[in-house]
């Protein structure tokens, strides 16, 4: 069974679109999969929603239609050959717009609301106020599922100090909404006028889209000019919105009609006192928090604003009440309400067959790519899969992609066996346009972002494989437990919530920009356990996600394959001392800096060691005494490591360096990027190498390797001998057994 959502428009900054993404988040947490369809989809959001014309539900599916003003999709809903539901966001009051073109759409929306009533199996109001309207319009089976905000997106810490400094100033009122007559911005201006009489330099910021040519807006603009201190911000980025909430003194709403009032919650999340006219659903949304008022007596309200700005005790009490209200309207509360609403419509799932004590548990391992390919997390997944196969009935769920940059389908779709492991491959839906993706990523890094932006990033990051997610949702009775590899990709970020309570996640997290995206919160908070690779990774996760799942340091085991350095030298014609790196050759892995440091070393010292590079290359590799070997065989790799003066690990983004462990296993020391906490930790614990931060320390490190290669290598080898695969296998078995026991 799929639960799809249908809405008239899916546009940036659109409140209905945001609520559809929030409902999508809740549905995933309920283990349900589905897509968003819209009558109009903004081109930049096509990764998140499909045109409504492509909606082809099956009879057992449920389509939830988000209803507001009149839309042709309402009629389409009545004829969809599936089960149907309505999510009602309310409709602005018709009398305010009598005589305008909008009036017909408002009244038509109400007529459509009543027309759909006999034809749907479920009606959801986003407030009790809306639910009362649904009942009045003839709906039965009405449930309230309140909207929510993601509090962590409104923290001050994510904003740049420069941005906040620019907004500092005198007491400021903030109103956030699209500039429409029923929002009564003329009343906001009257309050500002009274406030200015008391505080002459007071400011008013009005944040929200407006029509510059409309008579209503021009009237407001004239009044604002006369009053002074008013700024119309228009539509702003999410970071600007958060900065406005975080820099203003009091949030004010004079609206005569709100079906819920999301900005009230946003202000609460940003710890801004709320002062709101108690109309329609506003008292319900406030729930006794903030300050509501029943009459617009502007001089009284202006005095109240002054009180809120000057009386620290009053302000603190109001903020505490707002924090309480946010808890009452948390995503968890919405989840419980939605679970109750959907319960009668969900299929009766036959109880999952519990594995008998002596049978091997059925486990799905989810990883973005699988096979003989480069990539540390994928290699770790493969090594774990091969070692767990004797203990579990293991199925690897992965994509047909080989290349993580394009996600082009290269492996055949369907079931194969690889090295004794059952592998199910699903095709990807789109390839990645790297240049536009990188440009979009840069716009998101380092700022607070709205969910739509981060989910779009996730869709473009990929690999976008709907078949894999559908399998996870549909085949839940086929597996006793799940192991997800790497937090960073779509199969984990969207797949984990579907089966979180039976999952182990191996996040392989490191301190990189996307790690701060809120869209990865579920991955770190909802699984049964997080398997960290190092104490540094564990500490990073604990700092970032206060409510993280239980953590356990597991990492990888070390093997000690036979290696022959001379065989490597003979095969590739390598003579003299050399530094060696094998892995993905990309700027993101620090290869460009490594080449720079090595070229400086070569210019300064005639006897500088060669730099031998191997692996898949995504960049130009050239320079004096640089050798690029392309992809090499596994045995060739160990031979190369055994003969190297040192193995270089130049990446600053590491959760565990498998290459360093492989070097230790051959008694070869490591020269690693000291900007990576993980590498520093690995080398401090092992004593098997040295770190560098710049060219001078790189050269110093090479010199040290030359002088102390044997001693450093011996310490690394001793450390490696402590890290056995038996210990790793035991950890996976124990945690999976806990999951199975819980299900028995």
């Amino acid at each position: 069974m799929r639960v799809h959502q249908l809405l008239p428009t899916f546009l940036p900054g659109d409140a209905t679109g945001q609520s559809a993404l929030h409902f999508g988040l809740l549905l995933r947490r309920l283990g349900l999969h589905g897509q968003i369809y819209a009558g109009e989809v903004a081109p930049q959001l096509r990764a998140l929603a499909s045109p409504a014309s492509e909606l082809r539900p099956q009879a057992e599916d449920l389509v939830l239609y988000h209803h507001g003003i009149a839309s042709g999709l309402s009629s389409r809903l009545l004829h969809l050959p599936c089960r149907r539901g309505v999510i009602f966001h309310n409709i602005s009051p018709y009398p305010t717009y009598r005589g305008t073109a909008l009036a017909g759409a408002l009244l038509g929306g109400r007529a459509q609301l009543a027309a759909m009533a006999p034809h749907v199996q479920l009606a959801i109001g986003v407030s009790d106020f809306n639910s009362r309207e649904l009942k009045a319009a003839g709906y039965s089976n009405v449930h309230t599922v309140p909207l929510f905000v993601e509090e962590a997106r409104f923290t001050r810490e994510q904003l740049s100090a420069a941005r906040l400094r620019r907004l500092q100033g005198p007491p400021t009122l903030l109103a956030v909404s699209r500039v429409m007559p029923h929002k009564r911005f003329e009343d906001v201006l009257r309050l500002h006028s009274e406030h200015r009489r008391r505080v002459p330099d007071a400011r008013l910021w009005i944040v929200g889209g407006y029509e510059p040519g409309s008579a209503y807006f021009r009237g407001l603009e004239r009044q604002a000019r006369a009053l002074g201190g008013v700024e119309f911000w228009g539509k702003v980025s999410f970071a600007q919105l958060v900065a406005a909430y975080r820099s203003a003194s009091v949030f004010v709403s004079m609206s005569e009609h709100e079906g819920f009032g999301v900005p009230l919650l946003e202000a609460m999340a940003a710890q801004l006192p709320v002062l709101a006219f108690a109309a329609a659903a506003v008292p319900e949304t406030l729930g006794g928090s903030g300050i509501g008022f029943t009459e617009k007596r502007y001089n009284v309200l202006a005095e109240l604003v002054v009180e809120l700005c000057q009386d620290a005790g009053l302000r603190q009490r109001v903020l505490e009440g707002q924090r309480r209200r946010l808890q009452e309207l948390s995503p968890e509360v919405a989840l419980q309400r939605l679970r109750t609403a959907l319960a009668p419509l969900l299929p009766t799932v036959p109880a999952r067959k519990r594995p008998a004590k002596k049978t091997r548990p059925r486990v799905a391992m989810v990883v973005q790519r699988y096979g003989e390919l480069s990539g540390g997390a994928e290699l770790l997944a493969r090594m774990v899969a091969q070692r767990m196969a004797p203990h579990w009935q293991l199925t690897v769920l992965t994509t047909c992609a080989r290349d993580h940059l394009s996600w082009k389908n290269e492996f055949p779709e369907g079931e194969q066996r690889e090295g004794g492991v059952r592998v199910l491959r699903f095709p990807t839906r789109r390839t990645r346009e790297l240049a536009s993706f990188n440009s979009f990523s840069r716009r998101l890094y380092g700022h607070p972002n709205e969910r739509a932006a981060e989910e779009r990033w996730l869709a473009e990051q990929g690999p976008d494989s709907p078949g894999l997610l559908e399998h996870l949702a549909d085949a839940q009775d086929q597996y006793d437990g799940y192991v997800f590899f790497t937090y960073l990709y779509q199969p984990t970020a969207l797949g984990l919530p579907l089966v979180a309570d039976r999952s182990i996640v191996v996040p392989t997290a490191h301190d990189e920009a996307p790690f701060n995206f809120e869209v990865f919160r579920d991955v770190h908070e909802r699984p049964r356990v997080l398997f960290c690779s190092t104490p540094e990774e564990e500490a990073l996760i604990q700092r970032r996600f206060v409510n993280h799942a239980r953590t356990r340091i597991v990492g990888a085991g070390v093997e000690f394959p036979d290696a022959d350095a001379e065989r490597f030298r003979a095969r590739h014609g390598v003579q003299g001392p050399y530094l060696f790196y094998v892995g993905r050759l990309e700027p993101g892995k620090g290869i460009d800096q490594l080449l720079e440091h090595h070229q400086t070393l070569t210019r300064r010292y005639a006897d500088a060691p060669q730099l031998v590079l191997a692996g898949a290359s995504g960049m130009t590799l050239h320079g004096a005494r640089v050798r690029y070997l392309g992809r090499i065989e596994e045995q060739d790799k160990h031979d190369a490591i055994a003969g190297a003066l040192g193995v270089v690990v130049p990446s600053r983004y590491e959760s565990l360096s498998l290459l360093a462990l492989e070097a230790f296993a051959q008694g070869t020391p490591v020269l690693a990027n000291g900007a990576s906490e993980v590498l520093v930790g690995q080398l401090e614990r092992s004593g098997g190498g040295v770190t560098y931060l710049d060219t001078d320390s790189f050269i110093q490190g090479v010199r040290l390797l030359g002088e102390q290669r044997q001693a450093l290598g011996a310490r690394g080898l001793k450390f490696a001998r402590l890290h056995t695969w038996e210990r790793v296998v035991q950890a996976y078995r124990e945690e999976l057994e806990r999951i199975v026991e819980r299900g028995r």
């Binding site: 409709i91 009051p93 018709y94 005589g99 305008t100 073109a101 017909g104 009244l107 038509g108 109400r110 007529a111 459509q112 609301l113 009543a114 027309a115 106020f129 009362r132 309207e133 009045a136 319009a137 003839g138 029509e211 040519g213 409309s214 008579a215 209503y216 021009r218 009237g219 005569e256 009609h257 006219f277 108690a278 109309a279 329609a280 506003v282 008292p283 406030l286 006794g288 928090s289 903030g290 300050i291 509501g292 008022f293 029943t294 009459e295 617009k296 007596r297 502007y298 001089n299 009284v300 005095e303 109240l304 009180e307 009053l314 009490r317 109001v318 505490e320 009440g321």
Partner: protein, 147 residues
């Protein structure tokens, strides 16, 4: 006027502010009536759609000359008015067949919706007539086999 909020003493806070205003020689301003909190009345879809079809069946009729824009918006209204005055005869000719079609659509909807209303009433009546037959007392008279 009331101030609402669990964390404040609304009455005391209001009293404090009003006292301060009086001391400053300023009377608390009267506000409009209480905030509207009732739900909007539902709109019957059949009568709404019938009225809308009647209202808009004739495409040769001009839309009301109104705009929510100021400035240039007024000039556009004047241009529309001039266009209507000078070209109405061509508009009639161009949209003549559409007007006939819309009329048929309106009539068809009116007849079908009247039939829906009649059938709904008939179903309601049949249900009310049937109701006593499944009353518990009547059911008890059935033989075990019938049950």
């Amino acid at each position: 006027m009331k101030l609402l909020g669990k964390e404040i003493n609304g009455e005391a806070l209001l009293e404090k502010i009003e006292t301060r205003l009086r001391q400053a020689g300023e009377l608390p301003q009267p506000g409009p009536g209480r905030a509207p909190d009732g739900v909007e009345p539902p709109v019957d879809p059949i009568s709404f759609n019938l009225a809308a079809l009647e209202e808009h069946a004739d495409p040769t009729r001009p839309l009301p000359l109104a705009t929510h824009r100021g400035g240039v918006g007024r000039a556009v209204l004047l241009a529309k008015w001039a266009f209507r005055r000078s070209c109405q005869v061509f508009i009639n000719e161009t949209l003549g067949r559409q007007r006939l079609f819309n009329g048929h659509t309106r009539d068809a909807y009116a007849q079908l919706s009247a039939e829906v209303l009649r059938l709904r009433a008939e179903v309601a009546q049949l249900r009310s007539e049937q109701a006593p037959r499944v009353a518990p007392a009547a059911a008890d008279k059935r033989t075990p086999k019938q049950r």
